[in-house]
């Protein structure tokens, strides 16, 4: 009887913690890809709808979707939606070189996550991985694999919904 009760309590605790861990964004404070002294944290993004994208320059799928992200960010100029790229290259120069080619005007915000903290925290099961986060820091949706135009269109609708339009 006692064992059963303990088992139920442990199961409930595990379930509650796993749900909590998956739903909210982890705390982070990472340097910008362009300027190491400029730190970007989850507090900086509070109150905004954010799309966190874990990417690397060695990942072909990540490179495919990047121009679409540039267009998506350009569409939301009101500062209430932000795409945050989290780069995990071992050499940040490769990422900078690629972004200099795709995102010449530096429309996208990019942090350099050498230790792959965000990828580990999100338990990214594929590359690239994207996570849509609402104004309260809750993960609304996760996308595994590169996003094509069709998926970006659906994502756009979702962002508009979150922004209350």
């Amino acid at each position: 009887m006692k064992h059963k009760l303990i088992h139920k309590i442990v199961t409930a605790l595990v379930l509650v913690t796993s749900i909590y861990a998956q739903d909210s964004v982890v705390d982070f404070n990472l340097p910008s890809l362009y300027n190491q002294s400029n730190k970007i944290s989850n507090n900086t993004l509070r109150g905004k709808v954010v799309l966190i994208n874990v990417w690397a320059s060695w990942c072909s799928g990540c490179k495919e979707e990047m121009p679409l992200f540039v267009d998506l960010q350009r569409e939301f100029k009101n500062n209430k939606f932000e795409i945050l790229l989290s780069n995990i290259d071992s050499d940040s120069k490769n990422a900078r070189d690629f972004l200099a080619y795709v995102d010449k005007k530096k429309v996208l915000t990019c942090v350099y996550d050498k230790d792959k903290r965000l990828a580990k925290a999100f338990h990214a099961i594929g590359m690239p991985s994207s996570y849509l986060i609402d104004q309260n820091g809750q993960i609304i949706e996760s996308y595994i694999g590169s996003l094509d135009k069709e998926k970006i269109f659906i994502l756009q609708k979702k962002i508009h919904q979150l922004l209350g339009k």
Partner: protein, 71 residues
Amino acid sequence: MKYLLFITFVISFSGCSALTRVAPYEKEFLSQDKMSLTPLPERAEHEGHIFLIREASAGGESTFQGGCGCR
């Protein structure tokens, strides 16, 4: 003799426990050109296809996706 067989059996399978799964975000060096099955792109595609059929999993040979077979 039985003990000897048992010990041999245990030792031969103990290596299996040390297998580690490489996460998709840790495949930077596996994605390099020199790590492909063949240097010829046409042949790599063919060998990738054979690998896919044999292993019944898509994407396991490259960095794209996690080799879960979901794409």
